[in-house]
């Protein structure tokens, strides 16, 4: 992954299993969001590929890429709702565009998705009229509109108060369990990471590559890499390793 000749991350190789909550973690500026952009097809990697169920994303023709894109749902950092449309129109647009459902059925599905994220009754509100946390949840509803196989979340808890953030985590787990979708979450919030992650990858800004891969709780206790342990312990002094060395 690179911007021009500036390489952000190199030699990334990991597998996300169906139905798991996978966390991409790392410090600020380590390239987590960039990696997400590569995975959802917004930015072509400088080298390498993203493979879904054995199907290459960047090696496919544009039509096949668009078809693959529709199996993914992305919830952006600040919601990224289309500001000229109401919440209902936002969630409804993918359905309108890609299905032949009649308008009444679409509006029923839209109401259901908004209800799932706790926004029932806000159909006719414009994005500028609701709070930041509601925007994020509406973004999740829009990402779920086409019942995607994989849902991506870019920093779901950034800028939310602890309770809203906790609710969003619960929502992610709940949706995974009920829809059976795979969740990919970019975050650096430790409480979130430990609450939701089945598996994770750690991007390091110094060495510019992934330096850990596995369940974050296991990594916290057993990772051979001090950077990963320090990160997962919020910078607390690494007593266990110190003891072992002494």
């Amino acid at each position: 992954m690179a911007y021009g000749s500036y390489v952000i991350q190199h030699d990334l190789d990991f597998v996300i299993r169906r139905g798991e909550v996978f966390v991409i973690m790392g410090g600020s500026g380590s390239g987590k969001s960039t990696l997400l952009n590569h995975m959802v097809g917004l930015k072509q990697p400088a080298r390498g590929d993203v493979v879904y169920d054995g199907e290459s994303f960047w090696g496919s023709p544009p039509e096949a890429r668009d078809a693959l894109r529709r199996r993914l749902g992305v919830s952006f950092q600040a919601g990224a709702l289309w500001s000229s449309m109401t919440l209902a129109e936002n969630v409804g647009l993918p359905l309108q565009t890609f299905t032949r459902l009649p308008a009444r059925q679409i509006s029923e599905i839209v109401s259901l998705k908004l209800a799932l994220v706790g926004l029932a009754g806000y159909e006719e509100f414009y994005p500028s009229e609701v709070s930041g946390g509601m925007l994020k949840r509406a973004g999740v509803a829009r990402a779920m509109a086409l019942d995607p196989d994989i849902l991506f979340f870019d920093e779901p808890s950034a800028g939310l108060d602890p309770i809203s953030s906790r609710r969003l985590d619960d929502l992610i787990l709940e949706l995974r369990d009920s829809l059976g979708a795979t969740m990919v979450v970019v975050t650096h919030e430790l409480p979130s990471i430990f609450a939701i992650a089945d598996n994770s990858v750690f991007l390091d800004a110094e060495t510019r590559t992934m330096i850990a891969y596995g369940n974050p709780k296991t990594l916290r206790d057993e990772s051979p890499n001090p950077t990963v342990r320090t990160f997962l312990r919020r910078g607390a002094v690494d007593a266990a390793a110190g003891g072992a060395a002494a």
Binding site: V74, F76, Q77, A80, L81, W82, L93, P94, F98
Partner: protein
């Protein structure tokens, strides 16, 4: 014991020699930025010239300090390391010691960025590369919008009809006010200029010809285009730029909806459709403005003026104006949408996008109008 005072205004700094060949820097007074703290250059020169190897501080006489003192000390310490001078910081105020330690805690990252100007050859090269990149991006945008247009013709373009109608309303009917004002006044001005000149040889009636031909062939379409570029082109750039900042365009792309079809196409269609209509309207209002001068100032009869106008305007003049306005509509819409889509993700970038949309479109409007004038002249229209 020799004493030397280094000139520092407001705050004072005295250098005392100690017995072991080192020096003690005695700070006194108000060490605050507002009292003017100089660079430590002259002090360093003095330390160097006296080959001092060891420096301690005494700040007991400092009555007040702020970041000014911290910056001074940091620079001094950094240079002292280079000169191989040992420093003992214990004499500094405790707050300063802690701030200096904090500033030094994370080593300076070599980011490869500096505010130094690169050499002139490098600057010329960089701007040549930037121009080439911008040109390529412009051509790519033109190509993508043609593809979007093709998709539209095949009825496969994805956009919302309601968006198209909203944009049509915004760049058609809602622009009538400003187009009326500008066109009427331009017609009036043309009438005045013509009247003063033509009255001299008793050909006042030809004011009608002057105003009618100028409005239909040139002024109507170019004034409308300039008004629309400032009004609508800038708005397109600002809307799309803000959507880009807000990741709204990314959100479309991740759904596999082409932003070119969904956002750019309806804007281009609306403007290309509305521009010729606005131009015809502008022609009429301009002629009306001329008529006000002709009838009111020159005392021509309204019917006479109207008939003279009718005889003066050829259908080809009108059509040329309308055809040009269609092309101008493409230019204004392209410039606005392109600058918006290319906009960076910050408030200042969106402002820049709006500015450069207007500049780009006005430059191209005038260049194209000049080309039209030459080509039509050669073709004999």
């Amino acid at each position: 014991m020799t004493t030397a005072t280094v000139a520092v205004e407001g705050p004072t700094l005295t250098v005392h020699d100690d017995k072991s060949g080192g020096a003690v820097l005695e700070f006194a007074g108000r060490w605050q930025s507002q009292h003017g703290i100089t660079e430590p250059t002259s002090l360093l020169d003095e330390l160097r010239s006296r080959a001092i190897r060891h420096v301690a501080f005494d700040a007991s006489q400092v009555t007040a300090w702020d970041s000014g003192l911290v910056t001074f000390v940091l620079k001094l310490l950094r240079e002292a390391v280079k000169l191989g001078i040992d420093t003992d910081r214990t004499g500094l105020p405790e707050g300063v010691q802690r701030l200096v330690a904090l500033a030094e805690a994370v080593p300076e990252r070599q980011t490869g960025r500096s505010d130094a100007r690169p050499p002139w050859l490098a600057r010329i090269g960089a701007s040549a590369i930037a121009t080439a990149t911008a040109l390529t991006a412009g051509l790519a945008f033109l190509g993508e919008s043609l593809l979007a247009f093709q998709a539209f013709l095949r009825r496969r373009a994805r956009f919302r009809a309601s968006d198209l109608f909203l944009i049509i309303q915004d760049c058609g009917p809602r622009a009538l006010g400003i187009v009326t004002l500008i066109s009427f006044l331009i017609g009036l001005i043309l009438g005045f200029v013509g009247a003063v000149q033509l009255q001299q040889f008793g050909a006042s009636i030809f004011v009608a010809n002057l105003v009618a031909v100028a409005m239909t062939r040139e002024i109507g379409c170019i004034m409308t285009a300039i008004v629309m570029s400032g009004r609508t082109g800038a708005a397109f750039a600002a809307q799309l730029g803000t959507m880009n900042t807000n990741q709204e365009i990314d959100a479309l792309a991740t759904l596999g909806i082409s932003p070119m079809e969904f956002l750019v196409l309806p804007r281009m269609l609306a403007l290309i459709g509305m521009m010729p209509l606005l131009t015809v309207y502008s022609d009429l209002v301009g002629i009306l403005g001329g008529a006000v001068v002709g009838v009111g100032m020159l005392g021509l009869g309204p019917i006479q003026y109207l008939e003279q106008t009718r005889d003066a305007v050829r259908v080809s003049d009108l059509l040329i104006g309308v055809a040009k306005s269609g092309v101008f509509g493409v230019v204004v819409a392209l410039a606005g949408c392109m600058r918006g889509m290319q906009s960076g993700r910050s408030a200042s970038a969106v402002g820049l996008a709006a500015t450069s949309a207007v500049v780009t479109s006005i430059v191209w409007l005038i260049v194209l109008d000049g080309m039209f004038a030459v080509i039509l002249n050669v073709l004999g229209f």
